[in-house]
Amino acid sequence: MSGPLSVQAPPASRRLTSWIANPWAQARFLWVAVFGYLAWSLVPVFIAVAYSFNAGKAQTTWQGFSATRWFITDVNSVWQDETLRSALFQSLKLSALTVVIAVPLGVAFAIALDRWRGRGAGTSDFVMLFSFITPEIAIGVGLFLMMTKLVEQIGLGFTAQVLGLSMYELAFTVIIVRARLLSVGKHYEEAAMDLGASPTNAIRRVLLPLLSPAIFASVAIVFASAIDNFVISQRLCADASCQTIPIVIYSSARRSPLPSLNALATIVLVLSTVLIGAAVVGYRAMTRGERALAESPGAEEPVLASGG
Protein backbone atom coordinates (compact mmCIF):
# COMPACT_ATOMS: atom_id res chain seq x y z
CA MET A 1 0.00 0.00 0.00
CA SER A 2 1.65 3.21 -1.08
CA GLY A 3 1.33 6.06 1.31
CA PRO A 4 3.16 8.40 3.54
CA LEU A 5 5.14 5.61 5.15
CA SER A 6 8.67 4.88 3.92
CA VAL A 7 9.35 2.82 0.85
CA GLN A 8 11.00 -0.24 2.47
CA ALA A 9 8.82 -2.09 4.93
CA PRO A 10 10.10 -1.66 8.45
CA PRO A 11 9.68 -4.56 10.90
CA ALA A 12 6.10 -5.27 11.99
CA SER A 13 6.49 -3.84 15.46
CA ARG A 14 7.80 -0.54 14.13
CA ARG A 15 5.00 -0.45 11.58
CA LEU A 16 2.38 -0.93 14.21
CA THR A 17 3.72 1.73 16.54
CA SER A 18 4.14 4.25 13.79
CA TRP A 19 0.65 3.37 12.56
CA ILE A 20 -0.73 4.27 15.94
CA ALA A 21 1.60 7.19 16.39
CA ASN A 22 0.58 8.86 13.19
CA PRO A 23 -3.20 9.07 13.26
CA TRP A 24 -3.44 11.80 10.67
CA ALA A 25 -2.32 9.80 7.71
CA GLN A 26 -5.12 9.82 5.24
CA ALA A 27 -5.42 6.10 4.74
CA ARG A 28 -5.84 5.45 8.42
CA PHE A 29 -8.53 8.02 8.80
CA LEU A 30 -10.31 6.39 5.96
CA TRP A 31 -10.02 2.91 7.46
CA VAL A 32 -11.67 4.20 10.59
CA ALA A 33 -14.31 5.95 8.55
CA VAL A 34 -15.04 2.86 6.54
CA PHE A 35 -15.32 0.52 9.46
CA GLY A 36 -17.29 3.08 11.38
CA TYR A 37 -19.66 3.34 8.46
CA LEU A 38 -20.00 -0.42 8.14
CA ALA A 39 -20.69 -0.80 11.82
CA TRP A 40 -23.34 1.94 11.69
CA SER A 41 -24.84 0.39 8.62
CA LEU A 42 -24.97 -3.23 9.69
CA VAL A 43 -25.01 -3.44 13.48
CA PRO A 44 -28.65 -2.30 13.84
CA VAL A 45 -29.65 -5.14 11.55
CA PHE A 46 -27.66 -7.62 13.60
CA ILE A 47 -29.40 -6.41 16.72
CA ALA A 48 -32.79 -6.80 15.09
CA VAL A 49 -31.84 -10.32 14.05
CA ALA A 50 -30.58 -11.08 17.54
CA TYR A 51 -33.87 -10.06 19.09
CA SER A 52 -35.72 -12.58 17.00
CA PHE A 53 -34.08 -15.03 19.36
CA ASN A 54 -35.12 -13.16 22.47
CA ALA A 55 -36.67 -15.42 25.04
CA GLY A 56 -39.12 -12.75 26.14
CA LYS A 57 -41.49 -10.34 24.43
CA ALA A 58 -39.39 -7.22 24.69
CA GLN A 59 -37.72 -5.46 21.81
CA THR A 60 -35.29 -3.48 23.90
CA THR A 61 -34.36 -5.74 26.78
CA TRP A 62 -32.54 -8.97 26.27
CA GLN A 63 -34.35 -11.66 28.19
CA GLY A 64 -32.35 -14.72 27.29
CA PHE A 65 -31.92 -16.84 24.23
CA SER A 66 -34.64 -18.89 22.65
CA ALA A 67 -33.98 -20.44 19.28
CA THR A 68 -37.49 -21.36 18.35
CA ARG A 69 -39.97 -19.37 20.36
CA TRP A 70 -40.70 -16.69 17.82
CA PHE A 71 -40.15 -18.90 14.84
CA ILE A 72 -42.25 -21.90 15.70
CA THR A 73 -43.35 -22.56 19.25
CA ASP A 74 -45.11 -19.43 20.48
CA VAL A 75 -48.73 -18.93 19.48
CA ASN A 76 -47.73 -15.61 17.93
CA SER A 77 -44.68 -16.98 16.17
CA VAL A 78 -44.10 -16.77 12.45
CA TRP A 79 -45.29 -20.31 11.97
CA GLN A 80 -48.45 -20.04 14.05
CA ASP A 81 -49.55 -16.46 13.54
CA GLU A 82 -51.59 -16.41 10.40
CA THR A 83 -50.77 -12.85 9.46
CA LEU A 84 -47.04 -13.46 9.58
CA ARG A 85 -47.13 -16.84 7.92
CA SER A 86 -49.37 -15.65 5.15
CA ALA A 87 -47.16 -12.61 4.62
CA LEU A 88 -44.16 -14.87 4.17
CA PHE A 89 -45.88 -16.98 1.56
CA GLN A 90 -47.36 -13.98 -0.17
CA SER A 91 -43.93 -12.40 -0.46
CA LEU A 92 -42.46 -15.57 -1.89
CA LYS A 93 -45.31 -16.04 -4.33
CA LEU A 94 -45.22 -12.45 -5.46
CA SER A 95 -41.48 -12.42 -5.96
CA ALA A 96 -41.47 -15.73 -7.80
CA LEU A 97 -44.15 -14.63 -10.23
CA THR A 98 -42.45 -11.28 -10.70
CA VAL A 99 -39.24 -13.05 -11.63
CA VAL A 100 -41.03 -15.39 -14.00
CA ILE A 101 -42.47 -12.42 -15.89
CA ALA A 102 -39.80 -9.76 -15.57
CA VAL A 103 -36.73 -11.82 -16.42
CA PRO A 104 -37.79 -13.31 -19.77
CA LEU A 105 -39.34 -10.02 -20.84
CA GLY A 106 -36.26 -8.16 -19.73
CA VAL A 107 -33.81 -10.51 -21.40
CA ALA A 108 -35.63 -10.31 -24.70
CA PHE A 109 -35.85 -6.56 -24.38
CA ALA A 110 -32.18 -6.21 -23.57
CA ILE A 111 -31.16 -8.26 -26.56
CA ALA A 112 -33.44 -6.25 -28.78
CA LEU A 113 -32.22 -2.92 -27.47
CA ASP A 114 -28.67 -3.94 -28.03
CA ARG A 115 -29.21 -4.99 -31.62
CA TRP A 116 -32.14 -3.11 -32.93
CA ARG A 117 -31.23 -0.07 -34.90
CA GLY A 118 -34.77 0.95 -35.73
CA ARG A 119 -36.48 4.10 -34.60
CA GLY A 120 -38.55 2.55 -31.87
CA ALA A 121 -35.51 1.25 -30.04
CA GLY A 122 -34.43 4.51 -28.55
CA THR A 123 -37.90 5.36 -27.36
CA SER A 124 -38.46 1.99 -25.73
CA ASP A 125 -35.09 2.28 -24.08
CA PHE A 126 -35.98 5.72 -22.84
CA VAL A 127 -39.29 4.62 -21.39
CA MET A 128 -37.65 1.72 -19.66
CA LEU A 129 -34.98 3.88 -18.05
CA PHE A 130 -37.66 6.38 -17.11
CA SER A 131 -39.48 3.67 -15.23
CA PHE A 132 -36.25 3.02 -13.37
CA ILE A 133 -35.79 6.58 -12.23
CA THR A 134 -39.37 7.65 -11.46
CA PRO A 135 -40.15 7.85 -7.73
CA GLU A 136 -42.00 4.73 -6.76
CA ILE A 137 -44.92 6.57 -5.19
CA ALA A 138 -45.79 8.14 -8.53
CA ILE A 139 -45.84 4.72 -10.17
CA GLY A 140 -47.73 3.28 -7.21
CA VAL A 141 -50.43 5.93 -7.32
CA GLY A 142 -50.72 5.57 -11.07
CA LEU A 143 -51.20 1.84 -10.83
CA PHE A 144 -53.63 2.26 -7.96
CA LEU A 145 -55.76 4.68 -9.91
CA MET A 146 -55.63 2.53 -13.00
CA MET A 147 -56.70 -0.57 -11.11
CA THR A 148 -59.50 1.17 -9.26
CA LYS A 149 -60.86 3.39 -11.99
CA LEU A 150 -59.95 1.96 -15.36
CA VAL A 151 -59.57 -1.79 -15.08
CA GLU A 152 -61.72 -2.61 -12.10
CA GLN A 153 -62.00 -6.17 -13.39
CA ILE A 154 -58.45 -6.61 -12.22
CA GLY A 155 -58.80 -4.28 -9.27
CA LEU A 156 -56.45 -4.25 -6.35
CA GLY A 157 -54.91 -7.40 -5.01
CA PHE A 158 -52.38 -10.05 -5.89
CA THR A 159 -52.84 -9.88 -9.66
CA ALA A 160 -52.36 -6.14 -9.66
CA GLN A 161 -49.28 -6.52 -7.51
CA VAL A 162 -47.76 -9.03 -9.91
CA LEU A 163 -48.47 -6.87 -12.95
CA GLY A 164 -47.17 -3.69 -11.40
CA LEU A 165 -44.13 -5.16 -9.75
CA SER A 166 -43.04 -7.11 -12.82
CA MET A 167 -43.07 -3.85 -14.77
CA TYR A 168 -41.06 -2.12 -12.10
CA GLU A 169 -38.44 -4.84 -12.02
CA LEU A 170 -38.10 -5.01 -15.80
CA ALA A 171 -35.56 -2.23 -15.83
CA PHE A 172 -33.30 -4.11 -13.43
CA THR A 173 -33.11 -7.12 -15.66
CA VAL A 174 -32.54 -5.06 -18.77
CA ILE A 175 -29.71 -3.13 -17.21
CA ILE A 176 -27.97 -6.24 -15.93
CA VAL A 177 -28.33 -8.20 -19.14
CA ARG A 178 -27.31 -5.31 -21.32
CA ALA A 179 -24.14 -4.93 -19.35
CA ARG A 180 -23.32 -8.52 -20.08
CA LEU A 181 -24.29 -8.16 -23.72
CA LEU A 182 -21.79 -5.40 -24.15
CA SER A 183 -19.00 -7.68 -23.14
CA VAL A 184 -20.23 -10.60 -25.17
CA GLY A 185 -20.53 -8.92 -28.52
CA LYS A 186 -22.23 -10.04 -31.69
CA HIS A 187 -19.59 -12.13 -33.31
CA TYR A 188 -20.56 -15.51 -31.89
CA GLU A 189 -24.04 -15.30 -33.30
CA GLU A 190 -22.79 -13.99 -36.57
CA ALA A 191 -20.40 -16.89 -36.80
CA ALA A 192 -23.20 -19.28 -36.04
CA MET A 193 -25.37 -17.77 -38.72
CA ASP A 194 -22.55 -17.83 -41.20
CA LEU A 195 -22.39 -21.52 -40.50
CA GLY A 196 -26.06 -21.85 -41.37
CA ALA A 197 -28.02 -21.35 -38.16
CA SER A 198 -31.26 -19.40 -38.36
CA PRO A 199 -31.39 -16.16 -36.39
CA THR A 200 -33.66 -17.70 -33.78
CA ASN A 201 -31.42 -20.68 -33.30
CA ALA A 202 -28.38 -18.49 -33.10
CA ILE A 203 -29.98 -16.57 -30.31
CA ARG A 204 -31.24 -19.63 -28.56
CA ARG A 205 -28.20 -21.80 -28.76
CA VAL A 206 -25.38 -19.35 -28.82
CA LEU A 207 -26.38 -16.10 -27.24
CA LEU A 208 -28.61 -17.25 -24.40
CA PRO A 209 -26.04 -19.63 -22.96
CA LEU A 210 -23.50 -16.84 -23.15
CA LEU A 211 -25.96 -14.63 -21.31
CA SER A 212 -26.75 -17.19 -18.67
CA PRO A 213 -24.61 -15.61 -15.96
CA ALA A 214 -26.48 -12.36 -16.39
CA ILE A 215 -29.83 -14.09 -16.52
CA PHE A 216 -28.94 -15.98 -13.41
CA ALA A 217 -27.86 -12.78 -11.70
CA SER A 218 -31.06 -11.00 -12.68
CA VAL A 219 -33.20 -13.78 -11.31
CA ALA A 220 -31.50 -13.43 -7.97
CA ILE A 221 -31.51 -9.66 -7.94
CA VAL A 222 -35.09 -9.27 -9.12
CA PHE A 223 -36.26 -11.81 -6.57
CA ALA A 224 -34.45 -10.08 -3.74
CA SER A 225 -35.69 -6.70 -4.89
CA ALA A 226 -39.28 -7.89 -5.24
CA ILE A 227 -39.30 -9.41 -1.77
CA ASP A 228 -38.28 -6.04 -0.44
CA ASN A 229 -40.74 -4.00 -2.45
CA PHE A 230 -43.04 -1.83 -0.40
CA VAL A 231 -44.62 1.15 -2.08
CA ILE A 232 -46.11 -0.52 -5.14
CA SER A 233 -47.20 -3.65 -3.28
CA GLN A 234 -48.86 -1.62 -0.57
CA ARG A 235 -50.73 0.67 -2.94
CA LEU A 236 -52.11 -2.31 -4.82
CA CYS A 237 -53.13 -4.30 -1.77
CA ALA A 238 -56.65 -3.91 -0.48
CA ASP A 239 -57.13 -6.57 2.13
CA ALA A 240 -55.23 -8.87 4.41
CA SER A 241 -54.76 -11.62 1.87
CA CYS A 242 -52.22 -9.79 -0.26
CA GLN A 243 -50.06 -8.37 2.48
CA THR A 244 -46.37 -8.96 2.01
CA ILE A 245 -43.62 -8.90 4.60
CA PRO A 246 -42.62 -5.26 4.18
CA ILE A 247 -46.27 -4.24 4.52
CA VAL A 248 -46.64 -6.24 7.72
CA ILE A 249 -43.44 -4.83 9.17
CA TYR A 250 -44.51 -1.30 8.29
CA SER A 251 -47.92 -1.56 9.89
CA SER A 252 -46.67 -3.28 13.03
CA ALA A 253 -43.36 -1.58 13.65
CA ARG A 254 -44.71 1.28 15.71
CA ARG A 255 -47.15 -0.77 17.73
CA SER A 256 -44.86 -2.60 20.16
CA PRO A 257 -44.51 -5.64 17.95
CA LEU A 258 -43.46 -8.99 19.27
CA PRO A 259 -40.10 -10.46 18.33
CA SER A 260 -41.94 -12.70 15.92
CA LEU A 261 -41.78 -9.75 13.55
CA ASN A 262 -38.01 -9.79 13.91
CA ALA A 263 -38.10 -13.50 13.25
CA LEU A 264 -40.00 -12.91 10.04
CA ALA A 265 -37.49 -10.31 8.93
CA THR A 266 -34.64 -12.64 9.83
CA ILE A 267 -36.09 -15.41 7.71
CA VAL A 268 -36.25 -13.12 4.71
CA LEU A 269 -32.79 -11.79 5.39
CA VAL A 270 -31.32 -15.28 5.45
CA LEU A 271 -33.22 -16.17 2.32
CA SER A 272 -32.02 -13.11 0.43
CA THR A 273 -28.44 -13.57 1.59
CA VAL A 274 -28.39 -17.18 0.47
CA LEU A 275 -29.92 -16.17 -2.83
CA ILE A 276 -27.49 -13.37 -3.50
CA GLY A 277 -24.61 -15.52 -2.34
CA ALA A 278 -25.67 -18.27 -4.70
CA ALA A 279 -25.98 -15.72 -7.47
CA VAL A 280 -22.49 -14.42 -6.91
CA VAL A 281 -20.99 -17.88 -6.67
CA GLY A 282 -22.94 -19.03 -9.67
CA TYR A 283 -22.00 -15.99 -11.70
CA ARG A 284 -18.36 -16.40 -10.96
CA ALA A 285 -18.50 -20.09 -11.73
CA MET A 286 -20.26 -19.46 -15.00
CA THR A 287 -17.81 -16.81 -16.08
CA ARG A 288 -14.76 -18.60 -14.83
CA GLY A 289 -13.75 -19.74 -18.25
CA GLU A 290 -13.89 -16.26 -19.67
CA ARG A 291 -11.91 -14.77 -16.86
CA ALA A 292 -9.29 -17.42 -17.22
CA LEU A 293 -9.11 -16.68 -20.90
CA ALA A 294 -8.82 -12.97 -20.32
CA GLU A 295 -6.17 -13.36 -17.71
CA SER A 296 -4.02 -15.96 -19.42
CA PRO A 297 -0.86 -14.59 -20.99
CA GLY A 298 -1.11 -13.85 -24.66
CA ALA A 299 -4.87 -13.83 -24.76
CA GLU A 300 -6.10 -10.91 -26.77
CA GLU A 301 -9.16 -10.94 -28.91
CA PRO A 302 -11.33 -14.02 -28.99
CA VAL A 303 -10.50 -16.25 -31.93
CA LEU A 304 -13.73 -15.52 -33.72
CA ALA A 305 -13.52 -11.75 -33.73
CA SER A 306 -14.49 -10.36 -37.07
CA GLY A 307 -12.58 -7.55 -38.60
CA GLY A 308 -13.01 -4.04 -37.35
Partner: protein
Protein backbone atom coordinates in the same frame (compact mmCIF):
# COMPACT_ATOMS: atom_id res chain seq x y z
CA UNK B 1 -28.12 -12.98 -49.15
CA UNK B 2 -29.91 -9.68 -49.34
CA UNK B 3 -29.39 -7.39 -46.40
CA UNK B 4 -32.82 -6.56 -45.06
CA UNK B 5 -31.55 -4.90 -41.97
CA UNK B 6 -28.57 -2.69 -41.48
CA UNK B 7 -26.81 -5.05 -39.13
CA UNK B 8 -23.09 -4.93 -39.66
CA UNK B 9 -21.22 -8.04 -40.63
CA UNK B 10 -23.37 -9.11 -43.56
CA UNK B 11 -25.88 -10.99 -41.45
CA UNK B 12 -29.46 -11.20 -42.40
CA UNK B 13 -32.20 -10.57 -39.83
CA UNK B 14 -35.78 -10.25 -40.89
CA UNK B 15 -37.18 -6.84 -40.24
CA UNK B 16 -39.60 -8.07 -37.61
CA UNK B 17 -36.93 -9.88 -35.66
CA UNK B 18 -35.67 -7.42 -33.13
CA UNK B 19 -38.92 -5.55 -32.67
CA UNK B 20 -40.60 -8.81 -31.80
CA UNK B 21 -38.06 -9.34 -29.07
CA UNK B 22 -38.75 -5.93 -27.74
CA UNK B 23 -42.50 -6.12 -28.13
CA UNK B 24 -43.53 -7.97 -24.98
CA UNK B 25 -41.57 -5.73 -22.67
CA UNK B 26 -42.67 -2.65 -24.56
CA UNK B 27 -46.30 -3.65 -24.24
CA UNK B 28 -45.78 -4.34 -20.59
CA UNK B 29 -44.25 -0.91 -20.06
CA UNK B 30 -46.99 0.75 -22.06
CA UNK B 31 -49.73 -0.94 -20.09
CA UNK B 32 -48.32 -0.67 -16.63
CA UNK B 33 -46.15 2.41 -16.76
CA UNK B 34 -47.31 4.80 -19.42
CA UNK B 35 -51.00 4.08 -19.10
CA UNK B 36 -51.08 4.58 -15.32
CA UNK B 37 -49.48 7.97 -15.83
CA UNK B 38 -52.23 8.82 -18.20
CA UNK B 39 -54.82 7.71 -15.71
CA UNK B 40 -53.21 9.95 -13.11
CA UNK B 41 -53.58 12.87 -15.48
CA UNK B 42 -57.16 11.90 -16.21
CA UNK B 43 -58.00 11.80 -12.54
CA UNK B 44 -56.19 15.03 -11.75
CA UNK B 45 -58.15 16.76 -14.49
CA UNK B 46 -61.31 14.77 -14.08
CA UNK B 47 -64.65 15.59 -12.55
CA UNK B 48 -66.05 14.81 -9.15
CA UNK B 49 -68.67 12.28 -8.15
CA UNK B 50 -71.57 14.09 -6.47
CA UNK B 51 -71.93 11.83 -3.44
CA UNK B 52 -68.43 10.88 -2.55
CA UNK B 53 -66.71 13.80 -4.20
CA UNK B 54 -64.04 11.48 -5.49
CA UNK B 55 -62.57 12.04 -8.87
CA UNK B 56 -63.93 10.35 -11.90
CA UNK B 57 -61.27 10.07 -14.56
CA UNK B 58 -61.98 11.87 -17.78
CA UNK B 59 -60.01 10.32 -20.57
CA UNK B 60 -60.63 12.76 -23.33
CA UNK B 61 -58.15 15.61 -22.95
CA UNK B 62 -60.55 17.99 -24.60
CA UNK B 63 -62.87 17.66 -21.64
CA UNK B 64 -60.25 18.02 -18.96
CA UNK B 65 -61.12 20.36 -16.15
CA UNK B 66 -58.03 22.09 -14.86
CA UNK B 67 -59.73 24.00 -12.06
CA UNK B 68 -58.98 21.64 -9.20
CA UNK B 69 -55.43 21.25 -10.46
CA UNK B 70 -54.94 24.97 -10.62
CA UNK B 71 -56.29 25.12 -7.10
CA UNK B 72 -53.63 22.71 -5.93
CA UNK B 73 -50.91 24.64 -7.70
CA UNK B 74 -52.17 27.90 -6.20
CA UNK B 75 -52.07 26.36 -2.75
CA UNK B 76 -48.51 25.36 -3.45
CA UNK B 77 -47.63 28.99 -3.81
CA UNK B 78 -49.72 30.10 -0.86
CA UNK B 79 -47.64 30.67 2.21
CA UNK B 80 -48.78 28.59 5.12
CA UNK B 81 -50.67 26.01 3.11
CA UNK B 82 -49.93 22.41 3.89
CA UNK B 83 -48.90 21.83 0.32
CA UNK B 84 -46.23 24.47 0.45
CA UNK B 85 -45.16 23.49 3.92
CA UNK B 86 -44.60 19.86 3.06
CA UNK B 87 -42.96 20.68 -0.24
CA UNK B 88 -40.47 23.05 1.33
CA UNK B 89 -39.85 20.70 4.19
CA UNK B 90 -39.28 17.79 1.82
CA UNK B 91 -36.83 19.82 -0.23
CA UNK B 92 -34.97 20.74 2.93
CA UNK B 93 -34.85 17.18 4.23
CA UNK B 94 -33.78 15.80 0.88
CA UNK B 95 -31.15 18.49 0.48
CA UNK B 96 -29.64 17.93 3.89
CA UNK B 97 -29.83 14.17 3.68
CA UNK B 98 -28.30 14.04 0.20
CA UNK B 99 -25.46 16.31 1.24
CA UNK B 100 -24.83 14.18 4.30
CA UNK B 101 -24.92 11.01 2.22
CA UNK B 102 -22.29 12.55 -0.01
CA UNK B 103 -20.10 13.68 2.85
CA UNK B 104 -20.23 10.28 4.49
CA UNK B 105 -20.31 8.21 1.36
CA UNK B 106 -17.49 9.82 -0.54
CA UNK B 107 -14.66 9.01 1.86
CA UNK B 108 -15.98 5.50 2.24
CA UNK B 109 -16.23 4.92 -1.50
CA UNK B 110 -12.89 6.58 -2.03
CA UNK B 111 -11.20 4.34 0.42
CA UNK B 112 -12.56 1.13 -0.95
CA UNK B 113 -11.91 2.17 -4.52
CA UNK B 114 -8.42 3.42 -4.10
CA UNK B 115 -6.87 1.84 -1.08
CA UNK B 116 -8.38 -1.42 -0.09
CA UNK B 117 -6.63 -3.98 -2.19
CA UNK B 118 -7.10 -7.38 -0.66
CA UNK B 119 -10.32 -6.79 1.16
CA UNK B 120 -11.98 -4.93 -1.66
CA UNK B 121 -14.41 -7.67 -2.56
CA UNK B 122 -15.53 -8.23 0.99
CA UNK B 123 -15.94 -4.56 1.61
CA UNK B 124 -17.95 -4.29 -1.56
CA UNK B 125 -20.18 -7.09 -0.37
CA UNK B 126 -20.67 -5.30 2.93
CA UNK B 127 -21.61 -2.15 1.02
CA UNK B 128 -24.07 -3.89 -1.21
CA UNK B 129 -25.64 -5.78 1.71
CA UNK B 130 -28.17 -3.02 2.48
CA UNK B 131 -29.60 -3.50 -0.99
CA UNK B 132 -30.80 -6.94 -0.24
CA UNK B 133 -31.56 -6.34 3.39
CA UNK B 134 -35.12 -5.16 3.39
CA UNK B 135 -35.48 -1.39 3.80
CA UNK B 136 -38.32 -1.99 6.22
CA UNK B 137 -36.16 -4.24 8.32
CA UNK B 138 -33.41 -1.65 8.51
CA UNK B 139 -35.84 1.06 9.59
CA UNK B 140 -37.60 -1.30 11.97
CA UNK B 141 -34.23 -1.99 13.58
CA UNK B 142 -33.85 1.73 14.25
CA UNK B 143 -37.40 2.07 15.58
CA UNK B 144 -36.44 -0.40 18.29
CA UNK B 145 -33.08 1.20 18.93
CA UNK B 146 -34.60 4.65 19.27
CA UNK B 147 -37.32 3.70 21.74
CA UNK B 148 -37.26 5.43 25.05
CA UNK B 149 -35.71 2.37 26.66
CA UNK B 150 -33.73 1.38 23.58
CA UNK B 151 -30.03 1.02 23.10
CA UNK B 152 -29.44 4.48 21.67
CA UNK B 153 -30.70 6.17 24.80
CA UNK B 154 -28.83 3.74 27.00
CA UNK B 155 -25.63 4.31 25.08
CA UNK B 156 -25.94 8.08 25.10
CA UNK B 157 -26.67 8.12 28.78
CA UNK B 158 -23.76 5.81 29.45
CA UNK B 159 -21.30 8.10 27.71
CA UNK B 160 -22.84 11.11 29.30
CA UNK B 161 -24.15 12.94 26.25
CA UNK B 162 -27.69 13.08 27.64
CA UNK B 163 -28.87 12.83 31.20
CA UNK B 164 -32.36 11.43 30.70
CA UNK B 165 -33.86 9.30 27.96
CA UNK B 166 -35.00 11.26 24.93
CA UNK B 167 -38.06 10.64 22.85
CA UNK B 168 -36.44 10.19 19.48
CA UNK B 169 -39.53 8.91 17.76
CA UNK B 170 -41.90 11.75 18.53
CA UNK B 171 -41.84 14.27 15.79
CA UNK B 172 -38.16 15.05 15.49
CA UNK B 173 -36.89 16.30 12.19
CA UNK B 174 -33.42 15.13 13.10
CA UNK B 175 -34.59 11.56 13.50
CA UNK B 176 -36.32 11.65 10.13
CA UNK B 177 -33.32 13.09 8.34
CA UNK B 178 -31.12 10.57 10.09
CA UNK B 179 -33.40 7.80 8.91
CA UNK B 180 -33.32 9.10 5.36
CA UNK B 181 -29.55 9.23 5.39
CA UNK B 182 -29.31 5.74 6.79
CA UNK B 183 -31.76 4.38 4.31
CA UNK B 184 -30.43 5.93 1.14
CA UNK B 185 -26.71 6.15 1.64
CA UNK B 186 -26.01 2.84 -0.11
CA UNK B 187 -27.43 4.41 -3.25
CA UNK B 188 -24.80 7.10 -3.02
CA UNK B 189 -21.87 4.85 -2.36
CA UNK B 190 -22.27 2.54 -5.29
CA UNK B 191 -22.13 5.09 -8.14
CA UNK B 192 -19.33 6.91 -6.35
CA UNK B 193 -17.44 3.70 -5.98
CA UNK B 194 -17.97 2.92 -9.62
CA UNK B 195 -16.58 6.22 -10.76
CA UNK B 196 -13.66 6.22 -8.37
CA UNK B 197 -12.80 2.64 -9.12
CA UNK B 198 -12.67 3.26 -12.83
CA UNK B 199 -10.72 6.43 -12.51
CA UNK B 200 -7.57 6.52 -14.53
CA UNK B 201 -4.69 6.15 -12.14
CA UNK B 202 -2.28 7.74 -14.51
CA UNK B 203 -3.84 11.15 -13.97
CA UNK B 204 -3.30 10.92 -10.27
CA UNK B 205 0.18 9.59 -10.68
CA UNK B 206 0.97 12.42 -13.05
CA UNK B 207 -0.18 14.96 -10.51
CA UNK B 208 1.93 13.36 -7.83
CA UNK B 209 4.90 13.24 -10.17
CA UNK B 210 4.49 16.94 -10.75
CA UNK B 211 4.83 17.54 -7.04
CA UNK B 212 1.28 17.90 -5.78
CA UNK B 213 0.66 16.66 -2.25
CA UNK B 214 -2.07 14.15 -1.39
CA UNK B 215 -4.62 16.74 -0.42
CA UNK B 216 -3.95 18.93 -3.42
CA UNK B 217 -4.13 15.99 -5.76
CA UNK B 218 -7.42 15.06 -4.29
CA UNK B 219 -9.00 18.44 -4.72
CA UNK B 220 -7.50 19.30 -8.08
CA UNK B 221 -7.59 15.94 -9.81
CA UNK B 222 -9.66 13.26 -8.10
CA UNK B 223 -12.60 15.36 -7.10
CA UNK B 224 -13.18 17.00 -10.48
CA UNK B 225 -12.81 13.66 -12.22
CA UNK B 226 -15.41 12.15 -9.97
CA UNK B 227 -17.95 14.87 -10.68
CA UNK B 228 -20.00 12.53 -12.84
CA UNK B 229 -20.24 9.98 -10.11
CA UNK B 230 -21.12 12.60 -7.53
CA UNK B 231 -23.92 13.93 -9.66
CA UNK B 232 -25.20 10.47 -10.45
CA UNK B 233 -25.11 9.50 -6.80
CA UNK B 234 -26.90 12.64 -5.71
CA UNK B 235 -29.68 12.15 -8.22
CA UNK B 236 -30.07 8.45 -7.48
CA UNK B 237 -30.41 9.34 -3.82
CA UNK B 238 -32.50 12.48 -4.07
CA UNK B 239 -35.14 11.29 -6.52
CA UNK B 240 -36.56 8.36 -4.57
CA UNK B 241 -36.05 10.23 -1.32
CA UNK B 242 -38.37 12.92 -2.55
CA UNK B 243 -41.19 10.45 -2.81
CA UNK B 244 -40.41 8.77 0.48
CA UNK B 245 -43.19 8.79 3.03
CA UNK B 246 -42.71 5.61 4.97
CA UNK B 247 -39.45 6.61 6.66
CA UNK B 248 -41.18 9.56 8.25
CA UNK B 249 -44.17 7.48 9.30
CA UNK B 250 -41.98 4.88 10.93
CA UNK B 251 -39.69 7.26 12.73
CA UNK B 252 -41.90 10.15 13.64
CA UNK B 253 -45.41 10.19 12.24
CA UNK B 254 -46.35 13.70 13.25
CA UNK B 255 -47.53 16.73 11.40
CA UNK B 256 -44.40 18.76 11.67
CA UNK B 257 -42.26 16.19 9.92
CA UNK B 258 -44.72 15.17 7.22
CA UNK B 259 -43.23 14.90 3.76
CA UNK B 260 -44.70 15.40 0.33
CA UNK B 261 -45.22 11.69 -0.08
CA UNK B 262 -47.36 11.61 3.07
CA UNK B 263 -49.61 14.25 1.59
CA UNK B 264 -50.05 12.22 -1.57
CA UNK B 265 -50.77 9.01 0.31
CA UNK B 266 -53.23 10.54 2.75
CA UNK B 267 -55.06 12.22 -0.12
CA UNK B 268 -55.34 8.99 -2.07
CA UNK B 269 -56.59 7.13 0.99
CA UNK B 270 -59.42 9.50 1.67
CA UNK B 271 -61.85 11.20 -0.64
CA UNK B 272 -59.21 13.66 -1.80
CA UNK B 273 -58.13 11.40 -4.63
CA UNK B 274 -58.01 14.08 -7.29
CA UNK B 275 -55.81 16.20 -5.06
CA UNK B 276 -53.53 13.22 -4.65
CA UNK B 277 -53.36 12.75 -8.39
CA UNK B 278 -52.68 16.43 -8.90
CA UNK B 279 -49.87 16.28 -6.38
CA UNK B 280 -48.34 13.33 -8.23
CA UNK B 281 -48.44 15.37 -11.42
CA UNK B 282 -46.80 18.26 -9.60
CA UNK B 283 -44.12 15.97 -8.25
CA UNK B 284 -43.27 14.49 -11.63
CA UNK B 285 -43.14 17.96 -13.18
CA UNK B 286 -40.82 19.14 -10.42
CA UNK B 287 -38.53 16.20 -10.79
CA UNK B 288 -38.61 15.91 -14.55
CA UNK B 289 -35.54 18.04 -15.06
CA UNK B 290 -33.21 16.07 -12.81
CA UNK B 291 -34.71 12.85 -14.15
CA UNK B 292 -34.05 13.77 -17.75
CA UNK B 293 -30.65 15.09 -16.88
CA UNK B 294 -29.77 11.84 -15.25
CA UNK B 295 -30.99 9.81 -18.18
CA UNK B 296 -29.12 11.93 -20.65
CA UNK B 297 -25.80 12.32 -19.02
CA UNK B 298 -25.20 8.99 -17.46
CA UNK B 299 -25.65 6.01 -19.64
CA UNK B 300 -26.56 3.63 -16.89
CA UNK B 301 -25.82 0.49 -18.78
CA UNK B 302 -22.41 1.74 -19.60
CA UNK B 303 -21.60 2.40 -15.97
CA UNK B 304 -22.62 -1.03 -14.88
CA UNK B 305 -20.89 -2.68 -17.78
CA UNK B 306 -17.58 -1.26 -16.88
CA UNK B 307 -17.68 -2.41 -13.29
Amino acid sequence: MARKDDQPGGVWYPRWFWPSFAAPATIWLLLFFVLPFYVVLSVAFGRLDPIFLTAEPVYNPVRWDTTPFRGVVTRLFTAGSIEQETLVRTLVYVGIATAACLLIGYPVAYFVARHAKRTKTWLLVAFIAPFWISYMMRMFAWVNLLQEDGYVNRFLEAIGVIDHPEQWLSGRASTVVFGLIYGYIPFMILPLFGTLDRMDRSMIEAARDLGAGQVKTFFRVTLPLSKQGILAGCIIVALPMFGDYFTQTLLSSTRNTAMFGNLIVSSIQSSLVNTGAALVVVMVVLLIVPMLYYLRSTNVARELAER
